[in-house]
Assembly symmetry: C2
Homo-oligomer: 204 residues x 2
């Protein structure tokens, strides 16, 4: 698909735009543009407008750094949520995933990444200082780590643990174990081993 | 992924926009929007602008109905191309595919679809009348059919053949046969059968 000749510069520009998106090659981009060309002009205008507007106007919550339409996000601002618990995650996607479970009613803290010396990401590149300040305010009772189970995740967990342990709070991490629906036969040994060590009391 | 709660209306609008594209679900749409949020504001503006502009300003060639930046497309306007041969295709995508082979130097005619009674598409919904007029002008020596090998494609070929046969032109269709690189063992019987019937003289 190199050096493809398109019959229109405008078409080519639009294809180039879509090709910058993750996972979108030029063939898919062409299909998307041709799809949009068949839509009503006002619909396509709205399409483009909603994208530009999102980039221009979306803010990040000053407390938890989640995406927000306001300075403080709806989660931090919600008095019905447990204001004493913070769940620490890497990205906004993780917030959305946890929110979708409808099992968590506390607050979040989005680090914006994970400590990764290989990628040149140190503690100062992440929202760690602001997390410590939130804890230092004295209103927080529990901090839950919900980071990746990778070397980088473990490093970050360890770093955060050291920084937060001076404060009088409970520090937990989300449970790791055999996923619901998975068969033991196909579960990797580390996960299975951990699920035995961290076994929980059975109750009905 | 139903009823997913997003932390921002602006985010949700942008995700809804991307979700309207073919083959894009809400998870992929979210990934795309989060990717754009990490880009420079001017880049995202340009992204949105190129899409809106494409829809607003792209024209269709008045002769062959291919996508074009002008009233007459670059192919129809190119004196180096064989102005006596027309290749009839269903969509603009087919024009791009054939152009990429660099094997065809004639003109095109984009029907804008194919005769399909099941989908309520009749001859009058397609650019057939304008094709007949091009042929009737007397400048055309050959018309090549390059439509799908489906019942609808055959119906359209037959309809066009009947309409064009009164004119003194050569009517051909692109060769059907075993694709280059394909093994005979895995080629379907109809294709293989046709490739034997339409065998060509071997030369080195």
């Amino acid at each position: 698909m190199n050096q493809q000749q398109f019959p229109s510069q405008l078409l080519e520009n639009a294809i180039n735009a879509f090709s910058t998106l993750p996972g979108i090659g030029r063939k898919t981009a062409l299909r998307m543009v041709l799809h949009l060309l068949r839509q009503k002009e006002t619909d396509v205008e709205q399409f483009a407008e909603s994208i530009a507007q999102a980039r221009k106007q979306i803010k990040y919550c000053k407390v938890c750094h989640n995406i927000s339409d306001n300075d403080i996000c709806d989660i931090c601002n919600n008095p019905k949520r447990d204001q004493t618990t913070i769940c620490v995650v890497e990205t906004i996607k993780d917030v959305i995933s946890i929110e979708n479970t409808a099992q968590y009613k506390g607050l979040y803290h989005v680090l914006g990444g994970i400590i990764s010396p290989m990628d040149g990401v140190g503690p100062n590149d992440l929202e760690i200082e602001s997390l410590i300040q939130r804890v230092a305010s004295g209103k927080i009772k529990e901090v839950i780590f919900a980071l990746s189970t990778t070397t980088e995740g473990d490093t970050t967990n360890f770093y955060l643990f050291r920084k937060l342990s001076p404060y009088n709070i409970k520090i937990t991490t989300i449970a790791r174990g055999v996923a619901i629906g998975d068969e033991l036969e196909y579960t990797d040994e580390i996960t299975l081993g951990r699920s035995i060590i961290n076994r929980i009391t059975f109750n009905i």
